[in-house]
């Protein structure tokens, strides 16, 4: 594995939209091609603006036939977002290792429900002996921009690979926009020294429960039926009934944004969150509250 022209390995870069996963795969591929290796690259992306999963599989060697990595054949996982990295654990070879950022980016799909803010977000596997987790965004910030966290992880990966620093830097120069190059080169260098530079942190094994709760209170006798709330509510909770008084169709969908309350000219709607609950003790009729 020490001869860069003879190496044969598989790397996965995994993260969420906007982190530069595809770019990182391109840089790895660029470096490999410098050494005359055959490179195959497969990507999953799309819907990435909303925090969706993005991954880039990079296979390289003297000769590579297929683009997809098979079970047990994955040598390195570079996780820009640690939960995304976990998806690839089943493919990891017994000697394989994982560089992962401890950053948590909870995708919308992991939200169990928006009212309570509870999420499904697996955390257990991080104790895996081959996982090297550190705070990449912190190092990127040191380099000058938190967005360079992916390049920090690439720097960490580069220590395990036999390619020379010069070649990595050349690849970075080709792929990174000129105005951000200096920061990225610094980030890469910091990544190579992550063990001394970055505090090793592990995410909390259990996420802090987010207990955001919303109550809706309607003073029907004050409502004049103007319909502002009906149209401003992003969740379309409100409707006007036959008496031309507002009524909650689906209060459980309320996210507590408070738009209806602030734009109600008649003080008819209260959106109560935890901080304002005590006001409700007066005995106003609570329209809806979570279980």
């Amino acid at each position: 594995m020490n001869d860069p022209t003879q190496i044969h390995a598989n790397v996965v870069v995994a993260g969420v939209g906007g982190q530069g996963v595809v770019l990182a795969g391109n840089i790895i591929a660029d470096v490999c091609m410098y050494y005359g290796l055959d490179v195959k690259k497969a990507e999953v992306h799309g819907m990435s603006q909303r925090g969706g999963a993005v991954s880039s599989q990079v296979r390289f060697g003297v000769e590579v036939h297929g683009g997809l990595i098979e079970k047990g054949q994955l040598n390195w996982i570079v996780g820009f977002e640690w939960a995304e990295a976990l998806r690839w654990m089943p493919l990891l070879s017994p000697e394989g290792s994982v560089f992962v950022s401890t950053e948590e980016i909870i995708p919308p799909s992991a939200l169990k429900d928006r009212v309570s803010g509870m999420v499904r977000y697996p955390l257990e596997l991080l104790d895996h002996p081959r996982v090297r987790a550190f705070d990449a965004p912190a190092l990127a910030k040191q380099a000058g921009n938190v967005k360079a966290a992916g390049v920090v992880l690439l720097g960490a990966l580069s220590i395990d690979l036999p390619f020379s620093l010069d070649v990595w830097n050349q690849a970075l120069t080709r792929w990174v926009p000129t105005k951000a190059l200096e920061i990225n080169l610094r980030a890469f260098e910091l990544g190579r020294r992550w063990e001394e530079k970055a505090p090793v942190t592990k995410p909390q094994p259990v996420p802090k429960p987010i207990t955001r709760q919303v109550w809706l209170n309607l003073e029907e006798s004050w409502c004049k039926g103007c319909g502002i709330c009906v149209n401003v509510c992003p969740e379309r909770i409100w409707t006007l009934n036959q008496k031309n008084v507002v009524e909650a169709l689906s209060p459980e969908r309320c996210t507590g944004c408070g738009l209806c309350e602030k734009l109600c000219p008649d003080f008819a709607i209260d959106v109560l969150t935890e901080s304002t609950i005590r006001v409700n003790e007066e005995g106003g009729s609570v329209l809806w509250q979570p279980n």
Partner: protein, 277 residues
């Protein structure tokens, strides 16, 4: 929950404003700010003139003074100089503050008495049935301009700035958070602070000019971060032969801020504690 709701005179609610009236939204923002700033309204006086806007103060459980048409600022000036320790907030409308009371407005700005004037600007005389106001844009229809307004509108902020106000800002009912922030800034300001708040008259101005009601009216003004574009020709219904007037872009936010001694300071009134800054 609007914490300001606890400051309302519950036995007077619901208020008299029409369905969808922007004044109610401004009132909501005002009491929200009051609740945030003052543990008690014992030392807060709200002074108003006559008109839809001016009825608002009666619903707030403070020292409230519903005066005569246009004269709120003169009452407020006397009250503030007699009791400099009070926080005095004037609620006025465009007809009240710029029409019949325009003289008091410019002189209050000139004197730089330490009070805050919030002008609810709905471009019309709502209480009397939707007549032409000094803020009605050119060509707009009102009950007294059946052929469209021949006159030009006042820019209240430019007027009071020229008159010497030391804090001048513009907000609108449509953006309650901006409005709240500007009310706070106006109250923080040492000296005469003026806030022009664009609101809507659903019953008269809107009907006469086919601007829709409720949320339609609220959304009828296109907006950017720093300006409100009142270019209503974007409204298909209004692109009829005589169409609705194109209104100029109106700047939003803090438009003028300066620092000079308040009248209370110059008169060395005991009991007056100037705010920081």
């Amino acid at each position: 929950m609007n914490p300001g709701k606890a400051l309302l005179r519950q036995d007077m609610m619901p208020h008299i404003l029409c369905p969808g009236c922007g004044h109610g939204i401004v009132m909501s923002a005002l009491v929200r700010v009051l609740a945030k700033r003052y543990a008690s309204l014992d030392q807060v006086a709200l002074v108003a003139g006559i008109g839809c806007s001016s009825r608002v103060v009666g619903y707030i459980d403070a020292n409230t003074l519903h005066t005569t048409h246009g004269r709120a600022l003169s009452f407020a000036t006397g009250l503030k100089l007699a009791r400099p320790e009070l926080t005095v907030i004037v609620v006025t409308g465009d007809g009240d503050g710029l029409g019949i009371g325009g003289n008091h407005l410019i002189h209050a700005a000139r004197r730089n008495v330490d009070l805050t004037c919030i002008l609810f600007n709905n471009e019309t005389y709502g209480m009397t049935g939707g007549q032409l106001a000094p803020t009605t844009v050119t060509q707009a229809f009102t009950t007294t301009t059946p052929y469209g307004n021949h006159e030009s509108a006042f820019d209240a902020t430019a007027l009071v700035t020229a008159a010497g106000a030391t804090f001048v800002a513009r907000a609108q009912a449509y953006r309650p958070d901006l409005l709240e922030g500007l009310i706070e800034q106006a109250l923080d300001h040492r000296g005469f602070s003026f806030l022009d708040v664009l609101t809507d008259c659903t019953e008269y101005f809107s009907r006469k000019n086919q601007l829709g009601a409720g949320s339609d009216l609220l959304f009828s003004q296109t907006r950017s971060d720093t300006e409100i574009s009142l270019d209503l020709t974007e409204w298909p219904r209004l692109q009829e032969p005589d169409g609705f007037p194109v209104r100029n872009l109106m700047p939003m936010g803090v438009l003028h801020e300066s620092n000079r001694p308040t009248l209370e300071e110059v008169m060395e009134l005991p009991g007056y504690r100037p705010k920081e800054g």
